[in-house]
Amino acid sequence: MRKMTADQVEALKPSGIRKFFDIVSEMKDAISLGVGEPDFDTPWHIRDEGIYSLEKGRTFYTSNAGLKELKEEVCNYLNRRFQITYDPVHEVLVTVGGSEAIDIGLRAMINPGEGEEVLIPQPSYVSYEPCAILAGAKPVIIELKNENEFRLTAQELRDAITEKTKVLILPFPNNPTGAIMERENLEEIAEVIREKDIFVISDEIYAELSYKEEHVSIVNIPGMQERTILINGFSKSYAMTGWRLGYACGPKEVVAQMLKIHQYAIMCAPTTSQYAAVEALRNGDEDVAQMREAYNQRRRFLMNAFREMNLPCFEPYGAFYVFPCIKEFGMTSEEFAERFLKEEKVAVVPGTAFGDCGEGFLRISYAYSIDNLRLALTKLKDFVTRLRENKDPIC
């Protein structure tokens, strides 16, 4: 028999997260700080609207691009929150989470096998690189740096661009570092993007979880909207991960091509979720604000604890992650995380799960209650103190 599987897929690296998950799942009483989703339940009025749609028998497909009222509410929302204007008829596509939007956005832009390059700043979410490969592109990694607070600089971008470069993935606010890009950072890279004539997929799924100033989108920078696919969704801001609902906005030419892939591969995003999402956008601003405030409190709590135990960590202003540096202990991220789990029963994710340049860092999620965090931090302090005591002093 011939080989059933495709070489390209076999060559994909299994997710580093998966490997660590297997170790954690064997430990029953471990505290986890490894979760990449909110600890809040979806606000009840949103769930209630989903249930109501089921009661009313709204169990059919929606149109491929999504419910008309949802696309309109998405546009209202983007305008209300971020002063971005899109046409709901031609420029919005409702997807199965932000993940699908990343996949079909790449596939709609890449000519497979022609060596077109997709720039992926890392550390970042695990799916960009495999999606780029599967779309037939060559992924090119830009290694972001701690000293830049893991922001993408114009110089780093310029250095990575070749004649083959087509798309830049822009993952801010960032998972796993919690880094953000402020307006002036975006203006600088936008200049390079326009000059080199490349396109952007801006994954702004954590846009609502920005703690410094209001989130600024690359789309807000003049001349960028026409070359950007903006991705957002309901998972993080409305605590709706399991509903699998996101959206992509962009120039109508590219949205039309994405829509074709979406209609053949997916048909439409889940109907129940779409009705719930309409409610979220119409009446959910207050919920989002409350959750953001809760995350921000935990963020300050964690950062203060790191300062007290002298664990270096740049101040992250986005998402719900902190990314402390553990290089002083002379262990790899994976070794540190494994020992920490075995000795203190606390699970954190090694930075390397999000790219090689995550080496020497840990991703700690603060999508947990303060009580939970306090307990885990006490254990981290014990662990760190023990490591420092047992170690020969470096001079």
């Binding site: 979760v35 409190q297 994710v349 999000f354």
Partner: protein, 163 residues
């Protein structure tokens, strides 16, 4: 009300046991400022007490709670205040509210037994001149109190490690 006060109140309404130092860190406000605001709000009667929420049903202690609707004749020149005061002075009375709608005062009463409560109503409440009528409702089960669900414990059902 200033922003710091609002932040403090919103947080401690559901977590009054937090240490001052930690509260300051969490809110991103100087510890001295938090301490001053807390003291001022206690002084001004904005913060009226720090209580513990107890689900007595989970203990062996018997407790009965009743909500009593009271209709009264307001007194000339004093409205409802005098009669409300007469009622709230009883230590077994937990809360007294002036209510809009079909009756005037809502009295929440705690006692050891049904009998104790009904005796209080018939002896102490109904006999007062300005009270026209009462209707007593006994609480059979508390599902949620002070924003806290009592019937279910929070369980983290998320997968322990996700990207």
């Amino acid at each position: 009300m200033n922003d710091t006060r609002m932040k403090i109140l919103t947080f401690i309404e559901h977590n009054s046991r937090i240490h001052l130092k930690e509260l300051a860190v969490i809110l991103g406000v100087e510890e001295v400022a938090v301490a001053n605001e807390l003291a001022a709000m206690e002084q001004e009667g904005i913060i009226c007490g720090y209580h513990t929420m107890i689900d007595w049903d989970k203990t062996t202690t018997e407790k009965v709670t009743a909500l009593i609707e009271v209709r009264v004749t307001p007194q000339r020149g004093q409205g409802f205040d005098t009669i409300a005061e007469r009622i709230y002075k009883y230590p077994e009375v937990n809360s007294v509210y002036l209510i809009s709608g079909g009756f005037d005062l809502m009295v929440i009463l705690e006692g050891k037994t049904l009998k104790e409560i009904s005796q209080f109503v018939s002896d102490k409440l109904s006999t007062q001149e300005s009270i026209l009528s009462t209707a007593t409702h006994f609480i059979l089960k508390k599902y949620k109190d002070h924003g806290t669900i009592l019937t279910k414990k929070y369980e983290d059902e998320r997968i322990s490690i996700t990207p």
